[in-house]
Amino acid sequence: MINAPAIGPAAVCRLDAAIRAAALARRAPAAAWLGVVTLLVAAAAVYGASFGLWRSPTQAASSAVKMPGLLLGVAAVSALANTWLAQSMGTRISLAQSLFGMLLGFTIAAVLLAAVSPVFFFLALTLPGPLTPAAMSSYRCLLTLHTLAVGLAGTAGVSRLLRLLDLITGQPRAALRVLLVWLAVCALAGSELAWVVSPFLNRPGEPDMLFNPYAFTMNMYEYLWKLLVLRTWS
């Protein structure tokens, strides 16, 4: 009998037998879904709060709500495309399996980020605040560290997801191809969703915005085009 059915941070990071069993099943049990989603929401909320705390408690609360929403949104939006793309590449992954797999990958990344969030809470409390003359250097430092943390946690989540795909498909090369396609789809959907729910951390000197005023007037790529190309040429 499997004696570790609890879906806690350690079990998810290790991909314990109960988690692997749930991922391999055509349809994971409801308890497994609930456990993974709860852990994802809790871990992402903790990290989100540490992301926004430097700016203000309001921004911390806002980011704590947005971060889990972003991850769940990306998984939900990409699930159908990812399943059909994986099936067209010769695997027999079901919609439930692909959604559960993506949620597991995101949960591992979120747990890692939550594990380093005490460091970010500490930095938010000890770096010069947003109303001080050194605010811009603090902002850049924090943003750089958060980018590094998200990149590393994302890489760890993806590498665990690859192992899970190895198990589900039984074909390492196909698993790698599926993973690359999933990454592309999630990156596309994630960048746009992140644009819609931004900002997670307002720049110093800007008003305290909880929502992106351009969220529904242009998409992220249009914004980047205007910011980088048109402004440079003019």
Binding site: M1, A21, A28, A31, L112, L123, T132
Partner: protein, 256 residues
């Protein structure tokens, strides 16, 4: 009950594909650690514990992971406290006065707070690489590493004292203390890495990254609690500052 997935026999779940061990992972130190990984032998006095921490850390690791952790942990905490308070008095002797009290408290409190801040990441990183140690065991191993760091710092104390008698530059003394602390920490961290690897087929791949995070936290903590080396100027915390900026100002002598 409808949680039938957990009632399936375990062999039905394929294991995670194993990766080949890293080349050169079986170092002489790791082999010695593995040889010593057994119950702690007789002799409970502090001197014996210090001796075991330095010469046979595997025995202490066995006690905190599989043996009588509830007895070993207070002893390790006592070693950390005494060693760091002692080194803190030496640090405070550079400026004298209230720094004899403030510096030891800052050295001990700062290091323990940094360890607490970084404990969750150490635990999750070790889980991510397949380690099955529980959080209390990881916390106890971290305490063991801090004990070794503290003992080595206490060993450096006479050397630091000699330098402190011949200079009035806080920047130089600060750099010297950091160099000693870094040496001591790297040796303590080596034992921690071996203990974690011992429980995970010789692997602890994310440990280097965790060390970088811990170093950054300790450096920022020392900036938040400044001055640790210079003259005492009250118990209140100074303005918030990033440690690199503080170092720049200390080296150039341009303070706000």
């Amino acid at each position: 009950m409808n949680n039938s997935i957990y009632d399936q026999p375990q062999p039905l779940v394929p294991p995670i594909p194993a990766r080949p061990p890293a080349a050169g992972a079986e170092s002489a130190g790791a082999a010695a650690f593995a040889r010593d990984y057994r119950p702690y032998e007789a002799g409970r006095d502090p001197a014996h514990l210090v001796d075991r921490l330095l010469k046979r850390p595997g025995q202490v690791a066995w006690e905190v992971c599989a043996g009588r952790r509830e007895r070993m942990l207070p002893a390790l905490l006592a070693v950390v406290t005494v060693a760091l308070l002692g080194y803190g008095v030496l640090v405070g002797s550079f400026s004298g006065g209230w720094q004899y009290v403030a510096a030891p408290l800052k050295v001990l409190g700062g290091l323990l707070a940094s360890a607490l801040i970084c404990l969750p990441s150490l635990y999750i990183f070790s889980c991510l690489t397949g380690n099955r140690l529980a959080l209390p065991a990881v916390a106890a191993l971290l305490t063991q590493a801090l004990s070794i760091t503290g003992i080595l710092l206490a060993g450096f104390a006479p050397v630091a004292w000699i330098f402190a008698q011949s200079t009035h530059a806080p920047a130089f003394m600060g750099a010297l203390h950091w160099a000693f602390w870094l040496c001591a920490f790297l040796l303590g961290a080596r034992q921690l890495r071996m203990a974690l690897a011992h429980h995970n087929e010789g692997r602890a791949p994310l440990f280097g990254l965790w060390c970088v995070i811990f170093l950054v936290v300790v450096l920022q903590m020392s900036t938040a609690l400044r001055p640790v080396v210079g003259a005492f100027d009250g118990w209140r915390l100074h303005d918030k500052q990033f440690f690199l900026e503080h170092w720049g100002q200390t080296i150039t002598g341009h303070h706000d």
